[in-house]
């Protein structure tokens, strides 16, 4: 079991590295360096002018040191097939989980130590801790994470499941205890970790396979969602949401519908890949317009965002081709690019409308802004009626 765990961890590490190199590409690293530099500069300046020993400093430190504890849940790499093939291994799951547990500690501990290092000057100079106290607090924080993971590990067996929310709140309370009474806090965290040790209570336990599979699936899904903001994630499984509250956007009658229109509409509303993309891009355009505070820059960047939205929605055209029933049904596919344009047109007009409304709120209102709104509308229509059909026909996905 130990070997199986190690083999899976290796594969997982390889996969993570693959995606991380894609996420942290040159541009992103550059942007991060600038952001980090700016933040550090601001921090150094603020340190000079900040008064010492204000009341809220200690709670602030507690919260800042608590935040990294929320990152990095227990990695189990348990797969659905394990329910079948490792079914008899309940008693050996402890061995399997040991390396997983250690692996899960790495990322949150690095983050915790990094953040603790960054706020070290603030904690010692402004909040009045001495170095030894601060180190003790940080060690306690690491112990809290250890304890949180132990709770997660215990959750994998039948018995009472403690939710992540409850564990996080308890962790916050303990973090406050550590901040105000470092020594007592430390003793408490040591006791927590010892009592939660699997060896500490020897009751026979049944492994909750279904729960383990579900929570690992959810964990992976969260990781993949983060990766998928930057790159395509092949492993990501799309879970369709019913979203009944959006049904009002669908036509009530079938009279003017055809099968492709019918399918594209529902796909856009219920497939999280498309709807989330749409929402994300719209918010992005609004944020970027607000940051640049210049009508023409906002116009250019928002136009780019609209173009990218259309570009990323292109795969919708052939989305159903892998569905056998789509091909068995007498559905005519020759003119489906027109149907896609019709569906996306509504979405893009909505996007244009939202961006324009926010422009009116966040940008100075003058004649230029009205021109920009009109130009953006023309651009949106050109993208939809010019670029989209060209691309769809070009890809031969008709």
């Amino acid at each position: 079991m130990r070997n199986l765990a190690k083999k899976r961890l290796n594969e997982n590490l390889k996969q993570s590295v693959k995606y991380l190199t894609l996420v942290f590409n040159d541009f992103f690293i550059l942007a991060l360096i600038f952001l980090f530099g700016a933040l550090m500069f601001w921090y150094a300046q603020a340190m000079k002018t900040m008064p010492s020993n204000l009341v809220f400093y200690k709670p602030l430190i507690a919260v800042i040191l608590w935040l990294p504890l929320l990152v990095g849940r227990l990695v189990t790499l348990i797969q659905e097939a394990d329910m079948q093939f490792l079914f008899t291994q309940d008693e050996n799951m402890g061995q399997y989980l040991r390396p997983m547990f250690n692996y899960s500690l790495v990322v949150p501990c690095i983050l915790e130590i990094l953040l603790a290092g960054i706020i070290f000057p603030f904690a010692t100079i402004k909040a009045g801790y001495n170095a030894a106290q601060y180190v003790l607090i940080v060690i306690s924080m690491l112990l809290i994470k250890y304890g949180m993971l132990e709770v997660e590990q215990k959750n994998l067996y039948f018995g009472s499941h403690v939710s992540h929310l409850a564990t996080s709140i308890i962790a916050l309370v303990v973090a406050f205890l550590c901040i105000y009474m470092p020594l007592i806090g430390f003793v408490f965290t040591v006791l927590w970790t010892v009592f939660m040790e699997p060896g500490f209570n020897k009751k026979p336990k049944i492994f909750d396979w279904r729960y383990a599979v579900e929570s690992e699936k959810a964990r992976k899904d969260r990781i993949y969602s983060i990766f998928s903001m930057f790159t395509d994630v092949a492993e990501k499984q799309v879970t369709i949401k019913r979203r009944k509250y959006l049904d009002f956007l669908l036509p009530k009658s079938l009279v003017k519908e055809n099968p492709n229109l019918f399918l594209y509409r529902r796909s856009l509303l219920r497939n999280p890949e498309y709807l989330n993309l749409f929402v994300r891009m719209t918010i992005f355009a609004i944020l970027i317009s607000w940051i640049v505070q210049d009508t023409w820059w906002a116009l250019g960047l928002s136009a780019l965002v609209i173009f990218l939205t259309v570009y990323q929605l292109l795969p919708m055209a052939s989305e159903f081709d892998s569905n056998i029933m789509y091909r068995v049904y007498p559905i005519v596919t020759e003119k489906r690019s027109k149907d896609l344009i019709k569906v996306l047109n509504l979405a893009l007009i909505l996007q244009w409308f939202l961006i324009s409304v926010f422009w009116l709120i966040v940008l100075p209102i003058n004649f230029n802004l009205l021109i920009a709104v009109a130009v953006l509308f023309i651009f949106t229509m050109m993208t939809n009626y010019g670029y989209l059909p060209y691309k769809v026909n070009n890809k031969n996905i008709r």
Binding site: V238, R242, P259, F262, R270, I324, V328
Partner: protein, 247 residues
């Protein structure tokens, strides 16, 4: 007016899985396609549905050739796959609406029929659900309801009984019988002859990609040298022996 498969040879990539298949089903007739796993049953079906391109031969339905007029051909075919295939983003109601749109059915009439079928398979209170989350048997029922709703002249049914509860099996058999009575054509593959023979009397035995015999169960028994009271499992043993003999 019939399904005609003439000299059909085909398969996946170059290598023919089925060789020189000839079948004819007339209105009001049903044919069971039987054979061991890998005999070519599903491949034959995929050709009829236009999912594979024939290497040789032709398929036509009511004189409409599949290759020349695919949409017209498909409008006359409804299919129940072996494992349910659904659209994750559509509710049960929308699956039925899509069927109505695709086959160009009259909405009012189709809904009357749909409600009958939904009631029969105890799905009438789940119209607003996403069937992708249903159990295997319930998803299969959605496929059955959609196929019978389409009201086509040919029904292609691939191994329909697995995962269905006995009540649903009985209902499906009744529906097949009713379709035959209404001059529809039915082509069905199955291993569960005990259930199938309640609705279907004629069978084609596929072995190694060729049809060895078409006839009723008595004729098939005598072809393979089985006694009239031998259990049908013996047929499969005989097919297996032949298979090994060829290899």
């Amino acid at each position: 007016m019939s399904l005609k498969i003439e000299h059909l040879t085909g398969g996946y990539t170059g290598v023919p899985v089925i060789k020189d298949i000839n079948l004819k089903i007339k209105p009001g007739e049903a044919l069971g396609l039987i054979g061991l796993n890998g005999a070519g049953k599903s491949t034959t079906i995929k050709h009829i549905l236009g999912l594979l391109r024939p290497q040789k031969g032709s398929i036509s339905l009511n004189d409409i050739p599949l290759l020349m007029r695919p949409t017209e051909f498909k409008k006359q075919v409804a299919y129940i796959p072996e494992t349910p295939v659904l659209y994750p983003e559509l509710t049960l109601k929308e699956h039925l609406e899509l069927t109505m749109l695709s086959y160009g059915l009259d909405e009012n009439k189709a809904w009357n029929r749909a409600h009958e079928l939904l009631k029969m398979f105890r799905l009438d209170d789940k119209l607003d659900w996403l069937p992708i989350h249903f159990s295997k048997g319930m998803r299969q029922k959605v496929m059955i309801v959609s196929a019978f709703l389409a009201d086509t002249s040919l029904l292609v049914i691939d191994e329909p009984f697995t995962g269905l509860d006995p009540l649903a099996v009985a209902n499906l058999i009744d529906l097949i019988k009713e379709a035959i009575k209404n001059q529809k054509m039915v082509l069905m593959t199955t291993h569960v002859l005990a259930d199938a023979q309640l609705a279907i009397s004629n069978y084609a035995v596929l072995n190694n990609g060729t049809i060895e015999i078409i006839g009723d169960l008595a004729e098939i028994r005598s072809h393979y040298g089985l006694a009239p009271d031998d259990p049908f499992d013996k047929l499969y043993l005989a097919l297996n022996r032949e298979d090994n003999g060829n290899a």
